[in-house]
């Protein structure tokens, strides 16, 4: 399952669905709204392109790390502290591949998928700067 959506997802269900007879390891990454003095977080995506980029990242990771399955669910819209933002579930024969594949996917998402986060605070909001930003972020 590759999705850019507002709805949350059942991680336990994804793990069960990821298991094949040759699966020896599943690694899950769950990115969560952290309370950096914020009220909520608002996520915005260029949805078509984001979905295509996630598909490509999943395919690249599958080839590069011999993964047996990849699920990526990136949420959009308003999310409260503690809510899931991004869920990545990968399965592989062995743990090395599962960890490396999971890490590859999150780093690729941070660098290349058109999704943005705005932290909504009591005083307004601030866009989370992108990893290649030179001052574009942190606007009031």
């Amino acid at each position: 399952m590759i999705a850019v959506q507002t709805a949350d997802v059942d991680i336990g269900g994804l793990i069960n669905a990821a298991k094949q007879r040759s699966t020896g390891a599943v690694v899950v990454f769950d990115g969560i709204v952290r309370d950096d003095d914020i009220v909520e977080m608002e996520l915005e995506a260029y949805e078509d392109v984001a979905h295509k980029e996630l598909e490509k990242i999943a395919a690249d990771a599958t080839t590069q790390f011999n993964l047996l399955s990849v699920d990526i669910v990136h949420r959009t819209g308003r999310l409260a502290v503690g809510e899931n933002i991004l869920i990545i579930v990968v399965s592989a024969g062995h743990r090395e591949e599962a960890y490396a594949g999971s890490r590859f996917i999150i780093e690729a998402i941070k660098k290349g998928v058109p999704i943005w986060k705005k932290e909504l605070t009591k005083d307004g909001g601030r866009w989370v700067p992108g990893e290649h930003g030179h001052g574009a972020g942190k606007r009031g």
Partner: protein, 92 residues
């Protein structure tokens, strides 16, 4: 009015998004975006440098494909193009 220009994040807040427009007289990508950006001086400076070139970190897409900023000055637009301009991504 068949070209659609999408802005995201800070840029959406400055210019709006899903702007329907025509190709500029010179048919150039950079003229199209500059024409929209001129309506908002703060916004203009968030996208363009003093020489009128795209700032290095601004990301440009045409029909879902990335345009390298060094190619932007030579890129044209035509009817039915789907253009996107956005700041560095910050998902995950």
């Amino acid at each position: 009015m068949t070209i659609k220009v999408r802005f995201f994040a800070q840029f959406r807040e400055l210019f709006g998004t899903d702007i329907l427009t025509d190709a500029p007289p010179d048919g150039m990508f950079i003229s199209l975006i500059a024409g929209i950006a001129h309506s908002n001086p703060e916004g203009y400076n968030a996208i363009f440098d003093k020489n009128g070139a795209f700032l290095e970190f601004v990301i440009l897409m045409k029909n879902g494909k990335r345009i390298d900023n060094s190619d932007a000055a030579a890129t044209t637009v035509a009817d039915d193009d789907d253009i996107a301009v956005f700041p560095p991504v910050a998902g995950g």
